[in-house]
Each structure stands twice: as structure tokens, then as C-alpha cells.
Amino acid sequence: MHALATHALRLGDDALILGQRLSEWCGHAPALEIDLSLANIALDCVGQATHFLALAGALEGQGRDADRLAFHRDVMDFTNCLLVEQPNGDFAQTIARQFFFAHYQHLLFERMQAVQDERFAAIAAKAVKETAYHAKLAGEWVIRLGDGTEESRARMERGLDWMWRFTGELFAMDEIDSAAIDAGAGVDKAALHPLWDARIGAVLAEAGLAPPAPHRPVLGGRIGRHSEHLGHLISDMQFLQRAYPGATW
């Protein structure tokens, strides 16, 4: 696959898998307001995924559209980061994942909206406003849970601690990222890491939480090496197309 197509695919897979994960909360969140919030964020993610996967399909030039890429690939073909496929766990664990990812995505899209390639820039410029909301909402919950009861604080700490090991992968660069930068469609993700640390750190300080201890990053998602959780997620997401290949309505 063309490097730019893979670049678009990774962006689309991140959004698709996170959107699918978040939609699992629909009807199950602790309160109506946050139920609506998570469902709305999931919708934004699926919308981003639609744009990026359509672009990936167009760049690949094999006639695959966004639906084909979402529903007709197996687990090893997905290129999302490991963070987004992690199970929801309890509410605090979901918030931890959302907090880490939304701040990363917001920083990424802030840069990507200025890249030379208009196709990538247009999607990023469209999505950056939404990711600002996502980051803000997640941060407010980190503060509320971290600065809440003994129980909420302990759960928030556990959630942050669990998700932390997957954050290094967000900023890892490989030859696809370099090719995307050379083609005027990518962002130097490594340069975002200190900015992300600062934003995360400010919210954690307000929540009275210490940043989790340094952890060697767990990598592999970008080249299709996933945790066992992703297979279960896509078997659910792709059920209809697996049972009735090519079904339309």
C-alpha cells in the first residue's frame, strides 16, 4: 500500500476503533448527560473515520471505499494505535483513555490543518474543533473523579495507570510518518510529545493526581500487532458483513 494511503488508514482506524469502543457505553453510562456525551464523541469519531478511510481508499486506488475498509478487513490489517482498542473497563478507565487520546488528537489536528496536502488539511480543520470539546470534557471528568471521593480517586488512578503504557505509541515515528511529512501530509508527532505532557500535566495537577510513573511504551498497533481485545471488537462491529457479505439496505 502507498505510504500516504497507509497514513490515512492509520488516522481512520484510530477514529473508527475509538468510536466503536465509545459507542459501547450507549445506554450504560453513569448518568444521562455523559451517556449523550460519549455517544456524541463516538459519532464524531466515526465521522472522522469515514473521511480518512474514504481518502485511504482513494489513495490506494483499488476501489475500496470507507465501508469496505471498515467492514472487510481482518484484525491484522488494522493499523490503529493500541490505546484506542483497550477495553472500556470502568468509567474512569474510559475517561483515562479518552483524556490521553483526545489531547493527542487535538494537538495532531491543530498541526495537520496547516499541512500542504489539502485533503488531509481539510479533514483536520473540520475535526479539530470537535476534538477541542473532547479534550475539554475528558479533562473535566479527570478533575472531577481525581478530586472526588476516595473511591473515584482510586479508580481514576488505576485507569490512568493502565492506559499510560499505550501513550508512547501515539508519538512514535516510523517510515510511513516520515514519508507523510515529506509529502506535505504528515505531522512530526514526536515534537508533539512535550506539548502533550504539558497539557496532561496541567489537568492532572488540578485533579491532585501525580502523572503515572514512566513506562516503556507498548508498540505494534501501527503494523497490525494488536492486543487480543481488537479481534473481539471487530467481530462485533463486522458481524453483519461477515454473516451476510455485501449486504446493503
Partner: protein, 170 residues
């Protein structure tokens, strides 16, 4: 849906409509989620030319995007304008500043607090205070940043105690 072929075969031959006529037709197409306002009021229609209408999605994840395109298609078809193309453009991204003054008044009358004009740029930092669409009080508070649709937040008026939707600055 009626296809272009069926239309031109059965009815009048394809014609080039005036931009004014197209605008009038589109002004009659309601937003599927907030039917009080039209696709023109919301600023969804970006450009109108003789044989081409360019639209833009409001939110990336707006599930109404497809429904909006279909409504516009249906309205054009019923006017005998099946040959007018509908294109989607993402850039520049839609902003609530594109909602017309008329659209803002329609939203308010419908019970939705419209976003203040020129507020979109400031929205990434802090939300401005919403004005209660029922009693006009600014003594209001946000209940939930996400509401019944992606474009709305849930607010409450502390003066008249009524909850209301607020169109998010975007």
C-alpha cells in the same frame, strides 16, 4: 427516489435554472434534525450555480449529512431539476458564524438559543453565556456540553427554571 433518466424522459427536458430559483427551492428544504430552519439558514449551502449546488457538513459526525443531501436531491427532482449536481466540500470548515440572522431568529423562536455571531473563533477557549430563548435572561448555566444532537448543548435558565437547547458555537 426518482432518477435523472426517469425525469427527463417523462417530463420536461433538462433546463438551466436561475440561481435565484435554486436558492428559493433550497430555502424550502428544512434541516432534518431542526426543521424550523432551512439548509440556507444554517449556512450548509456553500455555493449555488446554474447546474451545481455545493454543500458542507456541519459536524464531522453529523448523522444528518446524508439525509440533508437526499432532501435537497428530492426538492430539486420535484422542481424538475434532476440534472443539478450536488457536491460536498469540507474546506473551509463550517462555522456557526455562517448561520444567517434570519436563521438565528428562527432557532430562538423554536426554543433553541442561537450561538452569538462571531463567537465561533472564541469557542475553543471558553463558552459565552447563553441567553434563555424563552425569557431572555442571561442568568443561565450549562447542564451538559453534549445534547440531543451533536450541534446542541443542554442548558438551564436560572430565572425561569426552564431547560433549553443551545446551538453550540463551532
Amino acid at each position: 427516489m426518482v432518477s435523472a433518466q426517469t425525469w427527463t424522459a417523462g417530463a420536461s427536458p433538462a433546463r438551466a435554472p436561475a440561481v435565484q430559483e435554486l436558492r428559493a427551492i433550497l430555502a424550502g428544504v428544512p434541516d432534518p434534525e431542526i426543521p424550523a430552519v432551512s439548509v440556507i439558514d444554517l449556512g450548509i449551502v456553500r455555493a449555488i450555480e446554474a447546474q451545481r449546488v455545493v454543500i458542507t457538513p456541519t459536524y464531522t459526525g453529523c448523522p444528518a449529512t446524508l439525509a440533508i443531501e437526499q432532501s435537497i436531491r428530492a426538492a430539486l427532482d420535484s422542481a424538475g431539476l434532476a440534472d443539478v449536481a450536488i457536491e460536498t466540500a469540507l474546506s473551509p470548515p463550517w462555522s456557526t458564524d455562517w448561520i444567517s440572522d434570519e436563521g438565528r431568529e428562527k432557532l430562538r423562536a423554536y426554543g433553541i438559543a442561537p450561538p452569538p455571531k462571531g463567537a465561533a473563533a472564541a469557542s475553543l477557549k471558553n463558552e459565552t453565556q447563553a441567553e434563555c430563548p424563552r425569557c431572555g435572561s442571561q442568568n443561565t448555566e450549562e447542564i451538559s456540553r453534549f445534547g440531543s444532537t451533536p450541534c446542541k448543548a443542554l442548558w438551564r435558565c436560572l430565572a425561569c427554571a426552564e431547560p433549553f437547547d443551545r446551538f453550540k458555537c463551532h
